[in-house]
Point group: C2
Chain length 130, copies 2
């Protein structure tokens, strides 16, 4: 039977409240504020369970370690700023990918990642260079 513990609640809350996908170390650091003495192993074990429970989802950015964000969000993808390296949610997906599948292939889903510079970094450059 599933038990409610301070650690699990802390980890879940951190992911619920974060507006962006977090890595295990980031989750660890944040959750520690709410659950002192928390161990890294518990973070990994809890992540696994939350995924099984469909409470969170894995976000695997190309070439990077997986991050995690709360599940149940509307269809979206991600934008990584090549300047500040932050990852943003992106809801502008209008990709007709499914239609262009190779012959005989059956597309079940897709992932899109945009790379570029976020609004803040674009603005910073403008004023700095001018």
């Amino acid at each position: 039977m599933e038990r409610t513990t301070a650690q699990r609640k802390a980890i879940h809350t951190v992911l619920e409240k974060s507006g962006r996908p977090l890595s295990p170390p980031e989750i660890f650091q944040e959750a520690r504020h709410m659950a002192p003495g928390l161990g890294m192993a518990t973070v990994y074990r809890t992540i696994k369970r939350l995924i099984d429970d469909q409470a969170i989802a894995q976000v695997g950015l190309p070439g990077e370690a997986p991050r995690y964000e709360r599940a149940g969000m509307q269809h979206h993808h991600h934008f990584r700023c090549t300047s500040c390296h932050r990852v943003f949610d992106w809801f502008g997906c209008a990709c007709p990918c499914e239609g262009n599948a190779p012959n005989g292939f059956e597309v079940q889903g897709h992932e899109i990642y945009l790379f570029g510079r976020c609004d803040e970094c674009v603005a910073r450059t403008r004023t700095t260079v001018s």
Copy 2:
């Protein structure tokens, strides 16, 4: 100055000739045929250098370890079969992603991954279930 060695040639050849992205262990195993005694460290060191030289490119599938393929291919993305787990090149990108960027964001590039079943797996199921 850059030197031509059997190991480097072997690794480069393996990636040139492969029609799909390879992981370091796959490269290691293949290149060993051409360069006996090859060490894993050399594979990693050579991959890094080939990327710097723009001879190969990293292919980071979401949630998986990076693979590598030769650079300079025409614009394409990847399709991973959820049944046989192979990764295929996909040239049907007609994604208008760049246009839908969030306000103030500057898109420099994009990556797309399709998931589904490849032609062989689709055919296999048909004949098996029928």
